[in-house]
Symmetry: C2
Subunit: 264 residues, 2 copies
DNA sequence: TAGTGGTCTAGACCACCCC
DNA sequence: GGGTGGTCTAGACCACTAA
């Protein structure tokens, strides 16, 4: 049933058996055991063996399955927890991370109110359509120019004040049945919808931020004067295997909010 | 000489951990041992027992000093390394982090060129003076309004193109002998100067980012049109013990650069 | 060759959660 | 009470660095 840690690609000369951990063959270790275990666990997450929100097997159980010590599994899970792929809960177990949580809402949204506590935004869909990917979108999503994409435009308001205008592009192949109706009837963070309905979980993103002048159309949507300076955020989100699955371009009004960042 | 961890004190044979079968005293463990060790090591860093760039004692040595196992010291140092307070180098030892390094230059500066590789900025000092802290500056630096601060204004250029206008406020008490001459003759990152000359090492910072219109004066310094939208970054930097020691307000031109961020 | 951090194991006990 | 993750220890071996 259980295979010992398999892979990897590059042929290495040094055959460093890592202590006698079962198995007749010396099981050439090209990377630390716990890294290989981490990879195996990630595969199970990706394949859907354990779904977002679910409990994964205990450390002891995984140690038995992979024929390694609990400490090695522990180190693998430590890293997965640091990357937010799983969440540990003492006394209960380790759970697959999900975007269906209060705290998940602000995981990728760094816009904070200058005063007071963060509020959940209300979302108003402006447009949803399928289209062929423009060249720049295709490049960032690693698609071929002209491939089908889903385009979404919406406005988000905090406490009734429109603050964000957002455009999204999603690979049409993955997000087949995504319609305006479906979007509007869904409550909660959009990443939660993607996760539950389309089996695509965002685990990481990169953002490029610039200052721009707002155009007339977007100024109307936000109820501000044309030419007002806004933050422009270009975000590319990735799922398992560093696969890009979302391009999101947002315009943030920073009159009463700011983009918050921690530097370490 | 060396103090042992503040609370539980094994001393019986070879450290029975927190088991304490013999000692009936409930051994009030307020935090895990490795956290306490981490605190003790941080104290030594703060006190200057080991200076930036220097080698700290080996794990075995620290384990002996603190009367704990090597594994416990290891976990403490793991966290310190994750927080960038120290750097591990296999086969060599563990070193105190320093801002005198190529990679340190971009640790707190997230402005990246849209194309090509990052270049080191050239700095031009516009003004240096001592003054009384305005109310807002005093608040952010945790000073009393009217306390002495050092004020610095400078322009930074990438490959000859002025891109950043920056104002800094530093507590006058700490940065006593900081003059324009001293700043100008110093090559390298300003945080390196602070570290070497004033014994103040920045270890963490928070940033608030907004979009603003550039005023006339700053527009001239950057050689751009007035009203151009710019990124405004308000950064508060902290040293050991979460003590705020720098307020920095920067205006970033995002014509050929962007603020880069990774979301996890 | 000696010394350092890096990996792996095994076993013990603790803190927490839920039945 | 029994299971889970969290801490701590002890000892072994590996990979890297430098003298």
């Amino acid at each position: 049933m259980n295979s010992v840690p398999p892979n990897n690609n590059p042929a290495s000369t040094t055959a460093s058996g890592s202590a006698g951990s079962a198995s007749a063959a010396p099981s050439p270790t090209f990377s630390p055991l716990y890294q290989q275990i981490k990879g195996l666990i990630t595969q199970s997450l990706q394949s859907g063996e354990w779904k977002p929100g679910e409990l994964i097997p205990s450390e002891v159980e995984l140690a038995n399955r992979f024929k390694v010590s609990q400490g090695t599994v522990r180190k693998a899970i430590d890293e997965l927890a640091a990357e937010n792929l799983v969440m540990r809960k003492q006394g209960k177990g380790t759970f697959v991370s999900t975007h269906h949580e209060a705290r998940a809402h602000f995981r990728f949204l760094r816009l904070m109110p200058d005063e007071g506590v963060p509020h959940y935004p209300d979302s108003k869909i402006i447009e949803v359509k399928r289209m062929r990917a423009p060249a720049d979108v295709a490049r960032l999503l690693e698609l071929k120019s002209g491939d089908a994409v889903v385009y979404i435009k919406r406005v988000q308001a905090f406490e009734g004040v429109p603050t964000i205008v957002e455009e999204l592009w999603l690979p049409g192949m993955i997000f087949k049945g995504l319609t305006a109706e479906r979007l509007m009837e869904y409550k909660g963070p959009m990443y939660g919808l993607f996760e539950s309905e389309f089996g695509t979980r965002m685990i990481r993103a990169t953002e490029k931020i610039r200052a721009v002048s707002v155009g007339e159309e977007d100024a109307k949507l936000l109820g501000i004067a044309a030419q007002t300076p806004l933050l422009e955020s270009e975000r590319v989100s990735f799922t398992y295997g560093d696969k890009a699955v979302e391009l999101r371009r947002g315009l943030y009004s920073t009159a009463r909010h700011h983009y918050h960042n921690e530097l370490n």
